[in-house]
Protein backbone atom coordinates (compact mmCIF):
# COMPACT_ATOMS: atom_id res chain seq x y z
CA UNK A 1 0.00 0.00 0.00
CA UNK A 2 1.38 3.45 -0.87
CA UNK A 3 0.89 6.13 1.79
CA UNK A 4 -2.58 7.69 1.76
CA UNK A 5 -2.69 11.42 2.46
CA UNK A 6 -3.96 11.63 6.02
CA UNK A 7 -4.18 14.73 8.20
CA UNK A 8 -5.21 14.58 11.82
CA UNK A 9 -5.66 17.85 13.65
CA UNK A 10 -6.78 18.51 17.21
CA UNK A 11 -7.68 21.92 18.58
CA UNK A 12 -7.89 22.40 22.33
CA UNK A 13 -9.14 18.84 22.80
CA UNK A 14 -10.22 18.14 26.39
CA UNK A 15 -12.26 15.50 28.14
CA UNK A 16 -13.82 15.09 31.56
CA UNK A 17 -15.20 11.98 33.22
CA UNK A 18 -17.72 13.55 35.56
CA UNK A 19 -15.75 15.69 38.01
CA UNK A 20 -12.39 14.29 36.95
CA UNK A 21 -10.29 15.68 34.14
CA UNK A 22 -9.56 12.79 31.77
CA UNK A 23 -7.55 14.85 29.31
CA UNK A 24 -6.22 18.40 29.68
CA UNK A 25 -6.35 20.68 26.63
CA UNK A 26 -4.06 19.48 23.87
CA UNK A 27 -3.62 20.66 20.27
CA UNK A 28 -1.70 18.87 17.54
CA UNK A 29 -1.34 18.56 13.81
CA UNK A 30 -0.29 15.17 12.43
CA UNK A 31 0.20 13.93 8.89
CA UNK A 32 0.94 10.52 7.37
CA UNK A 33 3.29 8.79 7.02
CA UNK A 34 5.24 8.74 10.26
CA UNK A 35 5.33 7.60 13.85
CA UNK A 36 4.02 9.73 16.72
CA UNK A 37 4.27 8.88 20.41
CA UNK A 38 1.87 10.21 23.01
CA UNK A 39 3.31 10.26 26.50
CA UNK A 40 2.25 11.46 29.89
CA UNK A 41 1.74 10.27 33.45
CA UNK A 42 -0.75 7.51 34.29
CA UNK A 43 -4.20 9.04 34.02
CA UNK A 44 -2.99 12.02 31.99
CA UNK A 45 -5.29 10.97 29.15
CA UNK A 46 -3.24 8.96 26.64
CA UNK A 47 -5.93 6.31 26.20
CA UNK A 48 -8.66 8.94 26.24
CA UNK A 49 -6.97 10.83 23.41
CA UNK A 50 -6.63 7.65 21.32
CA UNK A 51 -10.30 6.82 21.89
CA UNK A 52 -11.23 10.34 20.76
CA UNK A 53 -9.07 9.99 17.63
CA UNK A 54 -10.64 6.59 16.88
CA UNK A 55 -14.14 8.08 17.06
CA UNK A 56 -15.05 6.02 20.12
CA UNK A 57 -15.38 9.00 22.43
CA UNK A 58 -16.66 12.53 21.90
CA UNK A 59 -14.42 15.13 23.57
CA UNK A 60 -16.04 17.33 26.20
CA UNK A 61 -14.38 20.35 24.61
CA UNK A 62 -12.42 21.13 21.45
CA UNK A 63 -12.46 19.53 18.02
CA UNK A 64 -10.60 16.96 15.98
CA UNK A 65 -10.40 17.09 12.23
CA UNK A 66 -9.54 13.88 10.40
CA UNK A 67 -8.97 14.05 6.65
CA UNK A 68 -8.19 11.30 4.18
CA UNK A 69 -7.16 12.49 0.72
CA UNK A 70 -8.58 15.90 1.67
CA UNK A 71 -12.00 14.54 2.57
CA UNK A 72 -13.22 15.14 6.13
CA UNK A 73 -14.06 11.93 7.99
CA UNK A 74 -16.72 12.27 10.69
CA UNK A 75 -16.06 10.56 14.05
CA UNK A 76 -18.62 7.76 13.47
CA UNK A 77 -16.89 6.87 10.17
CA UNK A 78 -13.36 6.87 11.58
CA UNK A 79 -13.21 3.18 12.55
CA UNK A 80 -13.10 2.43 8.79
CA UNK A 81 -9.86 4.34 8.49
CA UNK A 82 -8.08 3.54 11.70
CA UNK A 83 -6.71 0.36 13.20
CA UNK A 84 -7.06 0.47 16.96
CA UNK A 85 -5.42 -1.76 19.56
CA UNK A 86 -5.59 -1.06 23.26
CA UNK A 87 -6.07 -2.60 26.69
CA UNK A 88 -9.83 -2.15 26.60
CA UNK A 89 -10.13 -4.13 23.36
CA UNK A 90 -11.40 -7.61 24.28
CA UNK A 91 -12.20 -10.57 22.04
CA UNK A 92 -14.93 -13.18 22.17
CA UNK A 93 -13.55 -15.94 24.42
CA UNK A 94 -15.74 -18.64 22.89
CA UNK A 95 -14.18 -18.07 19.45
CA UNK A 96 -10.68 -18.81 18.21
CA UNK A 97 -8.19 -16.09 17.32
CA UNK A 98 -8.90 -16.62 13.61
CA UNK A 99 -12.67 -16.65 14.14
CA UNK A 100 -12.53 -13.32 15.98
CA UNK A 101 -10.59 -11.77 13.11
CA UNK A 102 -12.85 -13.49 10.56
CA UNK A 103 -15.86 -11.88 12.23
CA UNK A 104 -14.17 -8.48 12.16
CA UNK A 105 -13.19 -8.91 8.49
CA UNK A 106 -16.69 -10.00 7.43
CA UNK A 107 -18.35 -7.22 9.42
CA UNK A 108 -16.03 -4.68 7.85
CA UNK A 109 -17.01 -6.09 4.45
CA UNK A 110 -13.43 -6.87 3.37
CA UNK A 111 -13.14 -8.37 -0.11
CA UNK A 112 -11.25 -11.52 0.92
CA UNK A 113 -11.72 -12.10 4.67
CA UNK A 114 -9.76 -15.40 4.72
CA UNK A 115 -6.68 -13.85 3.11
CA UNK A 116 -6.90 -10.74 5.33
CA UNK A 117 -7.07 -12.89 8.48
CA UNK A 118 -4.16 -15.09 7.35
CA UNK A 119 -1.99 -12.09 6.50
CA UNK A 120 -2.77 -10.27 9.77
CA UNK A 121 -1.99 -13.33 11.89
CA UNK A 122 1.28 -13.91 10.01
CA UNK A 123 2.35 -10.31 10.52
CA UNK A 124 2.16 -10.67 14.31
CA UNK A 125 3.50 -14.24 14.40
CA UNK A 126 0.28 -15.78 15.64
CA UNK A 127 -0.50 -18.11 12.72
CA UNK A 128 0.40 -21.24 14.69
CA UNK A 129 -2.23 -20.38 17.35
CA UNK A 130 -4.91 -19.28 14.89
CA UNK A 131 -7.35 -22.03 15.82
CA UNK A 132 -6.86 -21.74 19.59
CA UNK A 133 -9.77 -20.34 21.55
CA UNK A 134 -9.14 -16.82 22.80
CA UNK A 135 -9.84 -17.99 26.36
CA UNK A 136 -6.74 -20.21 26.08
CA UNK A 137 -4.37 -17.47 24.86
CA UNK A 138 -1.81 -15.81 27.13
CA UNK A 139 -1.89 -12.04 27.68
CA UNK A 140 1.06 -11.65 25.29
CA UNK A 141 -0.76 -13.56 22.58
CA UNK A 142 -3.87 -11.48 23.17
CA UNK A 143 -1.73 -8.39 22.66
CA UNK A 144 -0.51 -9.83 19.34
CA UNK A 145 -4.11 -10.58 18.40
CA UNK A 146 -5.04 -6.96 19.16
CA UNK A 147 -2.25 -5.81 16.82
CA UNK A 148 -3.49 -8.23 14.14
CA UNK A 149 -6.99 -6.78 14.60
CA UNK A 150 -5.61 -3.26 14.09
CA UNK A 151 -3.79 -4.30 10.89
CA UNK A 152 -6.61 -6.45 9.51
CA UNK A 153 -8.21 -3.94 7.15
CA UNK A 154 -4.92 -2.29 6.13
CA UNK A 155 -5.90 1.15 7.48
CA UNK A 156 -3.90 4.34 6.80
CA UNK A 157 -3.81 5.19 10.53
CA UNK A 158 -2.79 2.89 13.39
CA UNK A 159 -3.73 3.92 16.95
CA UNK A 160 -1.85 1.70 19.38
CA UNK A 161 -2.34 2.05 23.13
CA UNK A 162 0.49 0.49 25.18
CA UNK A 163 1.31 -1.88 22.29
CA UNK A 164 4.31 -3.50 23.96
CA UNK A 165 2.56 -4.42 27.19
CA UNK A 166 2.60 -8.18 27.91
CA UNK A 167 4.86 -8.85 24.91
CA UNK A 168 7.97 -10.95 25.43
CA UNK A 169 11.33 -9.94 23.97
CA UNK A 170 10.56 -11.62 20.64
CA UNK A 171 7.17 -9.92 20.53
CA UNK A 172 8.70 -6.51 21.27
CA UNK A 173 11.30 -7.00 18.55
CA UNK A 174 8.52 -8.06 16.18
CA UNK A 175 6.54 -4.94 17.08
CA UNK A 176 9.57 -2.73 16.42
CA UNK A 177 10.03 -4.41 13.01
CA UNK A 178 6.38 -3.80 12.28
CA UNK A 179 6.66 -0.09 13.13
CA UNK A 180 9.83 0.17 11.03
CA UNK A 181 7.97 -1.33 8.05
CA UNK A 182 4.88 0.84 8.52
CA UNK A 183 6.52 4.20 9.23
CA UNK A 184 6.79 5.04 5.54
CA UNK A 185 3.28 3.86 4.70
CA UNK A 186 0.95 4.99 7.47
CA UNK A 187 0.48 7.30 10.40
CA UNK A 188 1.30 5.25 13.48
CA UNK A 189 0.26 6.81 16.81
CA UNK A 190 1.59 5.05 19.90
CA UNK A 191 0.44 5.89 23.43
CA UNK A 192 3.16 4.72 25.78
CA UNK A 193 5.46 5.51 28.65
CA UNK A 194 7.99 2.86 27.60
CA UNK A 195 11.26 4.47 26.60
CA UNK A 196 11.87 1.78 24.00
CA UNK A 197 8.59 2.63 22.28
CA UNK A 198 9.12 6.42 22.50
CA UNK A 199 12.33 6.04 20.61
CA UNK A 200 10.44 4.55 17.65
CA UNK A 201 8.72 7.90 17.10
CA UNK A 202 9.98 10.97 15.31
CA UNK A 203 7.29 13.23 16.79
CA UNK A 204 5.85 13.35 20.30
CA UNK A 205 2.77 14.70 22.01
CA UNK A 206 3.33 15.47 25.69
CA UNK A 207 0.20 15.41 27.81
CA UNK A 208 0.31 17.93 30.62
CA UNK A 209 -2.19 16.45 33.07
CA UNK A 210 -1.02 15.78 36.61
CA UNK A 211 -1.96 12.15 36.17
CA UNK A 212 -4.45 9.72 37.74
CA UNK A 213 -7.26 11.91 36.42
CA UNK A 214 -6.98 15.40 37.87
CA UNK A 215 -9.68 16.26 40.38
CA UNK A 216 -11.88 19.13 39.25
Amino acid sequence: MSAVAVALEGKDVQHRYGARVGLRAVSFNLTAPGVVAIRGANGAGKSTLLRILAGLLRPSHGTTDFRVSGEAISPPSRPRWVGYAGPELAFYPEFSAAENLQFAAETRGLADPDASVRTALERVGLQSRASDQVAALSSGMLQRLALAFALLHDPPVLLLDEPGSHLDEEGKAGFEDLVARERGRRLVVIATNEEREWSLAERWIELQGRGLGDPA
Binding site: L56, P76, P79, R80, L89, A90, F91, T107, G109, H153
Partner: protein, 224 residues
Protein backbone atom coordinates in the same frame (compact mmCIF):
# COMPACT_ATOMS: atom_id res chain seq x y z
CA UNK B 1 -7.72 -0.84 2.37
CA UNK B 2 -10.81 0.21 4.29
CA UNK B 3 -13.99 -1.01 2.74
CA UNK B 4 -17.56 0.15 2.76
CA UNK B 5 -18.43 -2.47 5.33
CA UNK B 6 -19.73 -0.13 7.99
CA UNK B 7 -23.48 0.15 8.17
CA UNK B 8 -23.89 -2.39 5.37
CA UNK B 9 -26.00 -5.49 4.97
CA UNK B 10 -22.83 -7.57 5.24
CA UNK B 11 -22.21 -6.19 8.73
CA UNK B 12 -25.76 -7.00 9.87
CA UNK B 13 -25.47 -10.59 8.61
CA UNK B 14 -22.01 -11.03 10.09
CA UNK B 15 -23.30 -9.89 13.49
CA UNK B 16 -26.33 -12.20 13.21
CA UNK B 17 -24.05 -15.17 12.37
CA UNK B 18 -21.72 -14.27 15.23
CA UNK B 19 -24.64 -14.15 17.69
CA UNK B 20 -25.95 -17.53 16.50
CA UNK B 21 -22.53 -19.16 16.73
CA UNK B 22 -21.90 -17.64 20.14
CA UNK B 23 -25.28 -18.82 21.45
CA UNK B 24 -24.72 -22.30 20.01
CA UNK B 25 -21.34 -22.60 21.74
CA UNK B 26 -22.20 -21.06 25.09
CA UNK B 27 -25.95 -21.83 25.37
CA UNK B 28 -26.23 -18.60 27.38
CA UNK B 29 -29.96 -18.32 26.89
CA UNK B 30 -31.36 -21.26 24.95
CA UNK B 31 -31.17 -23.96 27.61
CA UNK B 32 -32.52 -21.71 30.37
CA UNK B 33 -35.35 -20.47 28.15
CA UNK B 34 -36.42 -23.94 27.06
CA UNK B 35 -36.17 -25.21 30.64
CA UNK B 36 -38.41 -22.38 31.84
CA UNK B 37 -41.00 -23.08 29.12
CA UNK B 38 -41.01 -26.82 29.78
CA UNK B 39 -41.18 -26.64 33.57
CA UNK B 40 -43.77 -23.88 33.75
CA UNK B 41 -46.08 -25.57 31.24
CA UNK B 42 -45.69 -28.97 32.90
CA UNK B 43 -46.27 -27.44 36.33
CA UNK B 44 -49.42 -25.60 35.25
CA UNK B 45 -50.81 -28.65 33.46
CA UNK B 46 -50.30 -30.79 36.60
CA UNK B 47 -51.82 -28.15 38.85
CA UNK B 48 -54.93 -27.11 36.91
CA UNK B 49 -55.33 -29.85 34.32
CA UNK B 50 -56.79 -29.09 30.93
CA UNK B 51 -57.97 -25.57 30.17
CA UNK B 52 -59.61 -26.12 26.80
CA UNK B 53 -62.75 -24.12 27.70
CA UNK B 54 -60.86 -21.16 29.21
CA UNK B 55 -59.39 -19.43 26.18
CA UNK B 56 -58.95 -16.19 28.15
CA UNK B 57 -56.59 -17.92 30.60
CA UNK B 58 -54.93 -19.87 27.77
CA UNK B 59 -54.15 -16.67 25.85
CA UNK B 60 -52.58 -14.97 28.86
CA UNK B 61 -50.66 -18.10 29.83
CA UNK B 62 -49.20 -18.54 26.34
CA UNK B 63 -47.80 -15.01 26.23
CA UNK B 64 -46.57 -15.09 29.82
CA UNK B 65 -44.62 -18.28 29.08
CA UNK B 66 -43.22 -16.83 25.84
CA UNK B 67 -42.35 -13.52 27.46
CA UNK B 68 -40.54 -14.92 30.47
CA UNK B 69 -38.79 -17.76 28.71
CA UNK B 70 -37.32 -15.41 26.10
CA UNK B 71 -36.88 -12.17 27.99
CA UNK B 72 -33.81 -13.01 30.05
CA UNK B 73 -31.85 -13.76 26.90
CA UNK B 74 -33.37 -11.03 24.71
CA UNK B 75 -32.45 -8.30 27.17
CA UNK B 76 -28.89 -9.56 27.57
CA UNK B 77 -27.58 -9.41 24.00
CA UNK B 78 -26.05 -5.97 24.63
CA UNK B 79 -25.28 -6.52 28.31
CA UNK B 80 -23.05 -9.48 27.39
CA UNK B 81 -21.02 -7.23 25.07
CA UNK B 82 -20.55 -4.63 27.81
CA UNK B 83 -19.72 -7.12 30.56
CA UNK B 84 -17.40 -9.11 28.26
CA UNK B 85 -15.77 -5.80 27.18
CA UNK B 86 -16.31 -6.75 23.52
CA UNK B 87 -18.43 -3.70 22.73
CA UNK B 88 -15.30 -1.75 21.72
CA UNK B 89 -14.47 -4.41 19.12
CA UNK B 90 -18.03 -4.34 17.84
CA UNK B 91 -18.07 -0.53 17.63
CA UNK B 92 -14.81 -0.56 15.69
CA UNK B 93 -16.09 -2.92 12.99
CA UNK B 94 -19.76 -1.94 12.60
CA UNK B 95 -21.99 1.09 12.82
CA UNK B 96 -24.40 1.34 15.77
CA UNK B 97 -27.34 0.80 13.41
CA UNK B 98 -25.82 -2.38 11.96
CA UNK B 99 -25.13 -3.64 15.50
CA UNK B 100 -28.70 -2.90 16.56
CA UNK B 101 -30.20 -4.58 13.49
CA UNK B 102 -27.96 -7.64 13.82
CA UNK B 103 -28.94 -8.02 17.47
CA UNK B 104 -32.63 -7.51 16.65
CA UNK B 105 -32.54 -10.22 13.96
CA UNK B 106 -30.86 -12.59 16.39
CA UNK B 107 -33.47 -11.88 19.05
CA UNK B 108 -36.23 -12.57 16.51
CA UNK B 109 -34.59 -15.84 15.52
CA UNK B 110 -34.15 -16.79 19.18
CA UNK B 111 -37.83 -16.07 19.83
CA UNK B 112 -38.79 -18.18 16.80
CA UNK B 113 -36.79 -21.17 18.11
CA UNK B 114 -38.43 -20.80 21.54
CA UNK B 115 -41.87 -20.64 19.89
CA UNK B 116 -41.26 -23.68 17.68
CA UNK B 117 -40.74 -25.72 20.86
CA UNK B 118 -43.10 -23.93 23.25
CA UNK B 119 -46.26 -23.45 21.16
CA UNK B 120 -46.83 -27.14 20.19
CA UNK B 121 -46.02 -28.14 23.77
CA UNK B 122 -48.46 -25.54 25.08
CA UNK B 123 -51.28 -26.61 22.74
CA UNK B 124 -50.77 -30.26 23.72
CA UNK B 125 -50.32 -29.95 27.49
CA UNK B 126 -53.09 -27.39 27.95
CA UNK B 127 -55.41 -29.22 25.55
CA UNK B 128 -56.04 -25.88 23.86
CA UNK B 129 -58.75 -25.77 21.17
CA UNK B 130 -57.40 -25.92 17.63
CA UNK B 131 -56.34 -22.40 16.66
CA UNK B 132 -57.41 -20.59 13.50
CA UNK B 133 -53.93 -20.91 12.09
CA UNK B 134 -53.66 -17.81 9.86
CA UNK B 135 -54.96 -15.52 12.62
CA UNK B 136 -53.00 -17.33 15.33
CA UNK B 137 -49.73 -17.21 13.39
CA UNK B 138 -50.36 -13.59 12.40
CA UNK B 139 -50.74 -12.50 16.03
CA UNK B 140 -47.81 -14.68 17.09
CA UNK B 141 -45.58 -13.24 14.34
CA UNK B 142 -46.50 -9.58 14.88
CA UNK B 143 -46.30 -10.01 18.65
CA UNK B 144 -42.86 -11.59 18.35
CA UNK B 145 -41.50 -8.76 16.18
CA UNK B 146 -42.84 -6.16 18.62
CA UNK B 147 -41.51 -8.12 21.61
CA UNK B 148 -38.05 -8.54 20.07
CA UNK B 149 -37.87 -4.88 18.99
CA UNK B 150 -38.91 -3.69 22.47
CA UNK B 151 -36.51 -6.00 24.33
CA UNK B 152 -33.61 -5.15 21.98
CA UNK B 153 -33.89 -1.39 22.26
CA UNK B 154 -34.48 -1.42 26.03
CA UNK B 155 -31.57 -3.87 26.40
CA UNK B 156 -29.33 -1.53 24.37
CA UNK B 157 -30.23 1.46 26.55
CA UNK B 158 -29.85 -0.25 29.92
CA UNK B 159 -26.55 -1.90 28.92
CA UNK B 160 -24.91 1.51 29.35
CA UNK B 161 -26.14 1.92 32.92
CA UNK B 162 -24.85 0.60 36.23
CA UNK B 163 -27.97 -0.96 37.82
CA UNK B 164 -28.82 -2.85 34.64
CA UNK B 165 -30.78 -5.74 36.19
CA UNK B 166 -33.11 -3.59 38.25
CA UNK B 167 -33.46 -0.97 35.56
CA UNK B 168 -34.51 -3.39 32.83
CA UNK B 169 -37.71 -4.36 34.64
CA UNK B 170 -38.67 -0.73 35.21
CA UNK B 171 -37.75 0.45 31.73
CA UNK B 172 -39.22 -2.53 29.88
CA UNK B 173 -42.60 -2.64 31.65
CA UNK B 174 -44.26 0.35 29.93
CA UNK B 175 -42.76 -0.64 26.55
CA UNK B 176 -43.79 -4.29 26.77
CA UNK B 177 -47.25 -3.78 28.26
CA UNK B 178 -48.97 -2.68 25.01
CA UNK B 179 -47.39 -5.65 23.18
CA UNK B 180 -48.56 -8.10 25.80
CA UNK B 181 -52.07 -6.61 26.03
CA UNK B 182 -52.62 -6.63 22.25
CA UNK B 183 -51.08 -10.09 21.79
CA UNK B 184 -53.20 -11.65 24.57
CA UNK B 185 -56.33 -9.96 23.25
CA UNK B 186 -55.62 -11.08 19.65
CA UNK B 187 -54.89 -14.66 20.69
CA UNK B 188 -58.11 -14.82 22.70
CA UNK B 189 -60.08 -13.34 19.79
CA UNK B 190 -58.85 -15.97 17.33
CA UNK B 191 -59.99 -18.74 19.73
CA UNK B 192 -63.36 -17.16 20.42
CA UNK B 193 -64.09 -16.62 16.73
CA UNK B 194 -63.75 -12.82 16.85
CA UNK B 195 -61.84 -10.55 14.49
CA UNK B 196 -58.10 -10.19 15.13
CA UNK B 197 -57.66 -7.28 12.71
CA UNK B 198 -57.54 -4.47 15.31
CA UNK B 199 -54.97 -6.28 17.50
CA UNK B 200 -52.91 -7.28 14.48
CA UNK B 201 -52.86 -3.69 13.21
CA UNK B 202 -51.93 -2.41 16.66
CA UNK B 203 -49.08 -4.92 17.00
CA UNK B 204 -47.76 -4.14 13.51
CA UNK B 205 -47.95 -0.37 14.06
CA UNK B 206 -46.25 -0.70 17.43
CA UNK B 207 -43.51 -2.89 15.97
CA UNK B 208 -42.89 -0.39 13.15
CA UNK B 209 -42.82 2.52 15.62
CA UNK B 210 -40.35 0.68 17.85
CA UNK B 211 -38.14 -0.21 14.88
CA UNK B 212 -38.15 3.40 13.65
CA UNK B 213 -37.36 4.73 17.13
CA UNK B 214 -34.57 2.14 17.48
CA UNK B 215 -32.96 3.16 14.19
CA UNK B 216 -32.99 6.80 15.29
CA UNK B 217 -31.66 5.93 18.72
CA UNK B 218 -28.85 3.47 17.99
CA UNK B 219 -26.59 6.10 16.42
CA UNK B 220 -26.60 8.11 19.64
CA UNK B 221 -26.31 5.31 22.19
CA UNK B 222 -22.53 5.07 22.41
CA UNK B 223 -21.43 8.61 21.64
CA UNK B 224 -19.86 9.06 25.07
Amino acid sequence: MPSDGLNSRAAVWAILRKECRSEWRTRYGLNASLLFALTSLTGVSFAVGRLSDRTDILSALLWIVLLFSALASLSHTFVREVEGRTLTLLRLVASPTAIGLGKLLFNLLFLLVIEVVTVPLFLTLMAAPGPRWPAFLGVLGAGSVALAAAATVVGAIISQTRGRGALFAGAAFPVLLPVLAAAVSGTRAQWSGGAVGPELRLLCAYAVALLAASLLLYDHLWED
